[in-house]
């Protein structure tokens, strides 16, 4: 192995001392003006957000004036890198960046294949290197290549998370395979596995987020390790704040160019949509111009970085005056031929004051509506998109003023705000900005002492640690989601009863998410599931939806999904069995184009039935009426936001129908004659009233107007509250900070949201305290109480959220008289199979359960086991099988047969 030489500078930097190397590979050389591209997985991708390596490189070679472009995507492998339509192949991006030098970051995701996968990995790497060497991305010469090994796995000392021992054995083998490829193909190999393993062993400080992926301190420690592994001698003086800020600003502009949100509306098919009113430009013209401007702005910042490392001073603000002009977008709104107005999609550009809007509401008998907050009082509320309540009962809202897309040179300042009603009159009187500087926070959820906030391609975890309600911790927690479309972004966050965070993604997206347990890919829509306790990550539902924006659980742990664009509503259990990418479950709007099944029995959008007859579209958030404040006859009803066809909160009575459910539409709970009323999210408040997030826009379409359409509104936004006349509000339960036994008692509450918040609170408490308290609490329950079994189920869920199983409690639920309880317990067995050696035996017993719902849960569960589960699942045919059960069996078999 040879070492890094800076050809031009070797005489200047006499500190560059050869280090002892063994085998021979190429000499890594850097020349003045080199363009260095990073290609590969999340290890490389995060380097643009934690710029330590890049800064150190510039500091070490100040006169080389290096241009660094990060082309990594989480989950990228040498031969498989999924992207949304027409993103462009790796060659096109390397050509765009004129790569002279390429650093490949591969081997982590591949290593989960263990011994079986090594030769394939080596072969693919060899092929990649060979093909790369045949290219001239800079127009003159073949790129110089370095293969960077994966880092080691860190044991973070949490028994819920893998200690990485097994992974490290594999990682070492894959690192060795990379080394061999480097030697065989005469390119540079940088071993950062060995030094990071040593580092993790000798350091107490946690350097990773989850064992497998470095945190900021980890990247700081990695910078000199990587530099040394490449054969260089890193400079040791700390970087100035100005240099760090400049490098960050450069990466920021590159990030928004390369990982531009709305890719499907730029280079993809909808790039051809969004014709301007004068017919001159489409989305692609307008947005590609912005990307060109971002390229120029990035280059301007490269120059400032070089000046700073060369000891020169730079102007306070970067001069971007010479960049290309934006294309002028003429509105397509208005006039007698406005197609959207004719189609009833356009509201009114004359926005009404909230007090006038309120007069235009029509509510179901007995209900009334009031304004909680509007942009008039709180300008921060502009473009609200999702809402949740914290455990103190306060309302949190995300806002997206930059929708549909931040414009270069403009302010990026989407927010999460907290609205408080201090005097309890139902209207907000205080607004605190919890987080700002965000981009397209399409959804969020509170939990784990902070908030998980979507901002594609990431989910951030943000936390306030000093009690001022302003976040001071910001971590890119989950990354690798696609950016193909901002309005198909991560949405509808919901905690599963057992403590997994689940969130939805729309079609066009090709996502790859890494975890300490391996890589998960999903394309063309679905629901993800992430367990913060165990760091397990995967797909909950993979079905060719269009854009699912609603997801809600009922009291027995059955979940329901609303797909916005087609207005479809699905019961989730049969479609949440396991499928492995690229397979998806059959059904959904895009079944035929995405799944393209040969078997005609699996074709069509109706292969998987909906539980309510679709009348109108499109929908958004959904919720069940479980509030004593609402009328008794409305209890259990399914509410659904509709933002165009009806501009209503639609209401449906729900009955259990065979294995599944059937909803029947009732008169709408809320309708507003104001065409700008766009109810996008709803949720019951702790006092039993219903809150509505009103996006409040005249223009609703993402596709119908140019992304830069000047009439897209960036100011309005309202929150409404529905109450029932003459009925008392519910006394909001005390949850935040209360003693564990008191919080456990909230699990006896009637309201779904009260129990939801109590579980969320309990999940944050110390495991041993919760486990002990649950034992006492369950022992004290009165078995003759009607909700006894439900309380037992709740106790099981609380333990599950701590990654704990109590076999006695589980057996009570599994053998309960009520099939709802048995079904939910069967789901727990499936979810907790990593802790239950006899899980399949327990599932097998439920295949012949008296009730078809439980049998369906058991058949679904079989899909998560190996081929041995085929025989188990088949026995369900000894009983009556209805449409839902047949579907579930067919899908389980399809998956198990593919193993």
């Amino acid at each position: 192995m040879k070492r890094l030489t800076a050809a031009l500078l070797i005489c200047v930097f006499t500190c560059l001392v050869p280090t002892a190397k063994t085998a021979s590979a190429a000499e890594f050389e850097l020349n003045k003006g080199d363009h260095i591209c990073l290609v590969g997985n999340e290890l490389g991708e995060r380097m643009q957000h934690h710029n330590h390596c890049e800064i150190l490189l510039h500091q070490t070679y100040p006169d080389l004036e290096l241009t660094v472009r990060n082309l990594c995507f989480p989950g990228d492998e040498p031969a498989e890198r999924i992207r949304s339509l027409d993103f462009g192949d790796p060659d096109s991006h390397l050509t765009h960046s004129k790569a002279d030098v390429i650093l490949f970051f591969f081997g982590f995701n591949e290593s989960f294949d263990g011994d079986d996968g090594i030769s394939e990995f080596a072969q693919q790497m060899g092929k990649l290197v060979k093909e790369t060497q045949s290219k001239k991305y800079n127009g003159k010469s073949a790129p110089r290549i370095a293969l960077i090994s994966p880092i080691a796995f860190e044991d973070i000392g949490d028994s819920n998370v893998t200690d990485g021992k097994e992974q490290n054995v594999n990682l070492a083998k894959y690192a060795a395979a990379l080394k061999k490829v480097a030697e065989d193909s005469n390119v540079v190999f940088a071993d950062i596995f060995t030094p990071t393993k040593a580092l993790f062993e000798r350091t107490d400080q946690q350097l990773t987020l989850n064992g497998s992926h470095l945190n900021n301190d980890g990247y700081k420690a990695l910078a000199p390790i990587l530099m040394t592994a490449l054969g260089g001698t890193p400079r040791t003086e700390p970087a100035s704040a100005a240099l760090i800020a400049e490098s960050k600003d450069k990466s920021f502009h590159w990030w928004h160019r390369y990982r531009a949100v709305n890719g499907y509306s730029i280079y993809g098919k909808r790039g051809l949509a969004g014709k301007t009113g004068d017919g001159k430009y489409d989305n692609r013209d307008v947005m590609e111009r912005e990307r060109a401007i971002l390229d120029q702005m990035t280059a301007n910042r490269d120059a400032r970085v070089w000046a700073l490392v060369q000891g020169k001073t730079v102007a306070e603000k970067c001069d971007d005056s010479q960049t290309l002009p934006f294309l002028e977008v003429v509105t397509n709104v208005g006039g007698k031929d406005d197609k959207n107005a004719k189609a009833g999609k356009l509201g009114s550009l004359d926005y009404l004051p909230a007090v006038e809007q309120q007069k235009l509401f029509k509510l179901a008998d007995g209900y009334e509506i009031q304004l909680v907050a509007s942009e008039e009082q709180f300008p921060e509320l502009a473009n609200p998109v999702s809402l949740n309540f914290d455990n103190k009962g306060r309302l949190w809202v995300t806002t997206m003023q930059s929708y549909p897309h931040w414009q270069p040179k403009g302010e990026m300042n989407d927010k999460v705000i907290i609205l408080e009603d201090k005097d309890g009159n139902g209207t907000a009187d205080k607004c605190t900005v919890f987080a700002d500087g965000l981009h397209q926070p399409t959804g969020f959820e509170i939990g784990n002492g902070g908030a998980y906030i979507a901002q594609q391609p990431d989910i951030l975890f943000m936390q306030d640690t000093d009690g001022d309600d302003v976040a001071d911790v910001r971590i890119r927690k989950l990354v690798g989601f696609d950016t193909a479309d901002s309005h198909h972004g991560i949405s509808a966050f919901e905690w599963s009863p057992g403590g997994s965070l689940q969130f939805n993604e729309g079609t066009f997206k090709y996502s790859q998410v890494e975890s300490p347990y391996g890589l998960t890919r999903m394309h063309e829509a679905g629901i993800w599931t992430y367990n913060p306790k165990t760091e397990r990550f995967g797909t909950h539902v993979s079905l060719p939806f269009a854009n699912p924006w609603g997801h809600v659980y009922d009291k027995w742990g059955q979940d329901f999904i609303s797909d916005a664009s087609p207005g479809f509503n699905f019961w989730a259990t049969p479609i949440s069995g396991k499928v492995e990418y690229p397979a998806k479950h059959a059904g959904g709007s895009f079944n035929d184009s995405v799944n393209n099944f040969k078997d005609t029995a699996l074709r069509g959008r109706d292969v998987y039935p909906q539980f309510i007859v679709k009348r109108t579209r499109p929908s958004a958030g959904n919720e069940f009426v479980v509030s004593r404040h609402f009328k008794p006859e409305d209890q259990g009803d399914f509410l659904l936001c509709n933002v165009i066809g009806d501009r209503s909160i639609l209401q449906h009575s729900m009955i259990e129908d065979g294995t599944g459910f059937a909803g029947k539409e009732k008169p709408a709970l809320v309708f507003c004659e104001d065409g700008n009323f766009r109810p996008i999210d709803i949720q019951f408040a702790p006092d039993g009233s219903l809150y509505i997030c009103d996006w409040h826009q005249a223009l609703i379409g993402h596709l119908q107007h140019n992304l830069r359409e000047p009439n897209r509104d960036h100011q309005h936004g309202r929150i409404w509250r529905v109450t029932c006349k003459g009925r008392d509000l519910v006394k909001a339960p005390k949850i935040a900070g209360e003693p564990i036994p008191a919080v456990l008692d909230v699990l006896k509450a009637y309201e779904d949201r009260a129990r939801y918040h109590a579980r969320r609170e309990l999940a944050e408490r110390k495991t041993e305290d919760v486990v002990a308290a649950v034992q006492t609490w369950t022992a004290g329950l009165d078995k003759s109480d009607e909700p006894y079994l439900h309380n037992i189920l709740e106790a099981n869920w609380v333990l599950q959220s701590h990654n704990v199983i109590d076999m006695d409690l589980l057996a009570l639920a599994l053998n309960a008289d009520d099939y709802h309880c048995r079904g939910a317990a069967t789901r727990i067995v499936c979810d907790m199979r990593h802790k239950l050696p006899n899980a399949l035996e327990l599932i097998k017993a439920k295949i012949s359960d008296d009730h078809a719902r439980v049998r369906l849960e058991a058949v679904r569960a079989c899909s998560f086991f190996g081929e041995e589960a085929i025989e188990v699942a088949l026995d369900v045919l000894e009983h009556d099988v209805d449409e839902y059960l047949q579907y579930t069996l067919d899908e389980t078999m399809r998956h198990l047969e593919s193993l």
Partner: protein, 633 residues
């Protein structure tokens, strides 16, 4: 090498793998694993499992005749569409052995169990019906009671009951039953097409004709119109009778379709003119949006064909009227399992717009590529070389070459594609061909571009075969056309004349004989030894190539990790690679490294097309068989 858009690859794959293929091993030479079917579980579960298996997997399920638990397996094979006749025969034998019954009983019971609403099942039903009705007459007679019962059921089973009774010599009893009600009469008329022997069908003509009368319900008259198309006797009379139905919208489509089947010599000028007159008015009355339906296209095809029977002036004036309202349509069908188009040539007028409709009735995908004169082979070879790399306008197997004039995409089984273009201005013979690998050798024809279409139609001149083949169709030969008992005798003393015919039938392209020839199919020098002297079995191999396929010579499609496909015969295999013979003209096989292979798919249909000898006479076929079987003890 990057799978950027896997969906696109999946689309391509599904196009390639027609329903007659099945997933197999990775070519490592290990025996293919049997699917695990829990035969001891309840029949409901077994049936469910078997239904989930594809054809190749279904055939791998263990069977024996010593236990009733194998009945569902045999039953599933018998009722599965797309399997070879041999598999069906074996399944039938299995059922007979376990149930201690006979073939007729099992076929009747299988027909009875069919789901009439399922198209695939109906197809299988017609095949099973064909097997049953080809059983010896005394067998059918012996099962007269069951057949009579079937006559009171529904669907293919009911029609089989009628046909069976007719074959059993009880035509009158069948007719008596048909008179009972409308449904029975309809079933009787559907039975006509099922009756195997032509003379027997001719004998039913009078009954069909009386069913055409006005007094009969519409459904019966429609069935009678359809039935007449299957009767060879008195076709001039049929032509005249059916012409009367053309004007009535209720009967137009079945009448058009039956008329299309009547050969030119029975189409008289006067009647033809009447029909054309009605159809031209029909075209003028049909709104533009409805001028692409199959029904309309059939009507226009008939009009186009009948214009040939008319005096030139009449033909011209009608054609001008048609050109006012619709582009001339030429319909081209593929023929199931015969690897050919139904037309070997068609004519178009120079510089005129024309719409060619390719309807794929075969089980595998085909396309239609029209080439410059003399470029058929070059275009086809270049197309095959593309593999799954999209060619001209993104079309698979269509090379980006100036020699390609017009091309459809690959049309899947049961689908159709409309190809609209303006014919070349230069009169001449322009070949058309399917460019799917290896299809071109048989699947081609000629588009004749003429300056005056009507003049040409009156006196059509068959174009030269673009590959130099000069034979025309003799008949579609079936095993029933040869007598197994007399076969050996009829081969005696024929000399070496067969050697020339063997070459002419392109056998040497694929088979080695006396050290010459290709390696796509098995060597024929020792064919008698391998077949233990069974000449009839060897003849079956020629006439029904898919009856039994030697796995060594089954066409395999290799899908490599880059998503490219290579189809051919695996000629060698070792630890690291397989050699696959792609093109019989290029003796060098392509070597593919096993590590590059994603999967290998084996076809259940023989690479050898059916109907290879349909352009040869019985005597010539016997000459060829004699040549193949002569050199051995």
């Amino acid at each position: 090498m990057f799978r950027i858009i896997p969906v696109a690859l999946l689309c391509t794959a599904s196009l390639l793998f027609a329903q007659d293929t099945a997933h197999h091993d990775h070519g490592d030479g290990l025996p293919v694993e049997r699917p695990k079917v829990f035969l001891d579980k309840s029949p409901k579960i077994v049936a469910y499992q078997l239904k989930r298996l594809d054809n190749a997997q279904l055939l791998l399920v263990e069977t024996a005749t010593d236990d009733a638990k194998y009945l569902p397996v045999f039953h599933a094979i018998l009722l599965r569409s797309g399997l070879a006749e041999k598999n069906r025969d074996e399944a039938l034998a299995g059922l007979v052995a376990i149930n201690k019954s006979n073939r007729a009983i099992e076929l009747l019971s299988a027909l009875k169990s069919l789901d009439g609403a399922d198209k695939e099942q109906q197809r299988v039903g017609r095949q099973l019906s064909g097997i049953l009705l080809n059983e010896p007459q005394d067998v059918l007679t012996a099962h007269g009671d069951e057949l009579k019962q079937a006559m009171t059921s529904s669907g293919v089973f009911q029609a089989t009951g009628f046909a069976g009774l007719i074959v059993a010599g009880q035509s009158d009893a069948a007719w008596q039953q048909a008179l009972i009600d409308e449904a029975s009469r309809g079933a009787y008329l559907s039975a006509v097409s099922l009756v195997p022997a032509g003379e027997l069908r001719d004998g039913l003509r009078a009954k069909v004709v009386v069913s055409l009368v006005t007094a009969q319900p519409d459904a019966v008259r429609t069935a009678a119109i359809r039935a007449l198309a299957n009767i060879a006797a008195d076709q001039a009379d049929t032509f005249e009778r059916l012409s009367g139905f053309i004007a009535d919208a209720k009967f137009r489509t079945p009448a058009v379709r039956s008329l299309l089947k009547i050969p030119g010599e029975h189409r008289t000028a006067a009647i033809s003119k009447q029909i054309v007159d009605v159809l031209v008015r029909h075209a003028e009355d049909t709104p533009a949006a409805k001028r692409t339906t199959n029904e309309f296209l059939d009507a226009m095809q008939l009009a186009d064909e009948l214009l040939r029977q008319l005096p030139a002036a009449d033909a011209k004036s009608y054609r001008q009227r048609l050109q006012e309202v619709t582009v001339r349509v030429v319909r081209l069908h593929t023929v199931e399992e015969e690897m050919r188009y139904d037309k070997t040539f068609f004519a178009v007028e120079a510089g005129r717009p024309v719409q060619v409709v390719l309807e794929n009735e075969d089980l595998m995908p085909h396309n239609l590529v029209i080439t410059k004169t003399g470029q058929l082979q070059q275009v086809a070879m270049a197309g095959a070389e593309l593999g799954t790399t999209p060619g001209l306008d993104g079309k698979l197997y269509v090379p980006n070459s100036p020699d390609v004039l017009f091309a459809t995409t690959m049309v899947n089984s049961g689908q159709r594609e409309l190809l609209t273009f303006t014919a070349p201005t230069e009169p001449g013979e322009y070949p058309y061909v399917c460019t799917f690998p290896r299809h071109w050798m048989r699947m081609y024809g000629v588009m004749v571009v003429v300056s005056d279409l009507d003049a040409w139609q009156r006196n059509p001149i068959e174009p030269k075969d673009p590959l130099g083949n000069t034979r025309s169709l003799v008949q579609s030969w079936k095993m029933a056309d040869f007598d197994s008992d007399k076969l050996a005798d009829s081969l005696k003393g024929r000399g070496s004349f067969g050697e020339k015919l063997f070459k002419e039938a392109t056998c040497l392209g694929c088979h080695k004989m006396k050290g010459q020839g290709g390696a796509v199919g098995p060597e024929l020098a020792d064919v008698m030894k391998r077949w233990k002297g069974d000449r009839f079995g060897i003849l079956r191999e020629i006439l029904e190539p898919s009856y039994k396929i030697d796995p060594k010579y089954a066409m395999k499609t290799v899908l490599d990790v880059d998503g490219k496909t290579t189809s051919g015969i695996v000629t060698a295999e070792d630890k690291d690679s397989i050699s696959i013979l792609v093109n019989p003209e290029v003796p060098e096989p392509k070597v593919i490294q096993k590590e590059d292979i994603d999967e290998i798919i084996q076809s259940t249909v023989s690479m050898m097309p059916k109907a290879l000898l349909d352009k040869f006479t019985r005597e010539e076929i016997l000459e060829i068989l004699s040549y193949i079987t002569a050199d051995t003890p």
